[in-house]
Symmetry: C2
Subunit: 97 residues, 2 copies
């Protein structure tokens, strides 16, 4: 079951992500990061790797790509905020760069 | 050489695209289309196919993806507007859905 992160879970899960370039939106409902790559193949390769996990975990990013940049927003609409899946996908994306 | 589309070229190249769901921005500098798919794998599969041509032709879209939707903007920054490459990539994308 996907549940909204508790305050305690946020205090555990979010700081390592914000230390790694993720930002939490003002309303606390969204994790965002802008990834920069060498060129388009590198950027799209990253998206492809991330897409496989997104589908596997049935948790999909909202993202955009302009040449070597990939802007990612993560949120869990079902819970109206952040869930453990957002933190999990964010961590995975950082491993996939 | 990439050149800005002449008025004559626009009259030839753009109507088949707008008839197929593309819109030209008010300033005439951008072609846009929102593609809808069955699900995320279909949407991302489309992006992957399009990415290969984008890189091959060294002409990259500005695009975003949310689950089964892919929103595409095409423009040619080098010429400050639309070039034949935008029309070519738009046509190709329509073939790749």
């Amino acid at each position: 079951m996907t549940e909204k992160l508790s305050d305690t879970a946020r205090e555990t899960l979010l700081p390592p992500l914000t230390a790694n370039g993720w930002t939490v939106s003002e309303d606390g409902k969204k994790l965002s990061k802008s990834f920069k790559f060498e060129d388009f193949p590198e950027a799209f390769g990253f998206m492809t790797r991330a897409a496989i996990y997104a589908e596997k975990w049935n948790h999909h990013p909202e993202w955009s790509n302009v040449y070597n940049t990939v802007d990612v927003d993560l949120t869990t609409h079902d819970v109206g905020g952040l869930s453990a899946l957002d933190a999990k996908l964010a961590r995975k994306m950082d491993q996939l760069i």
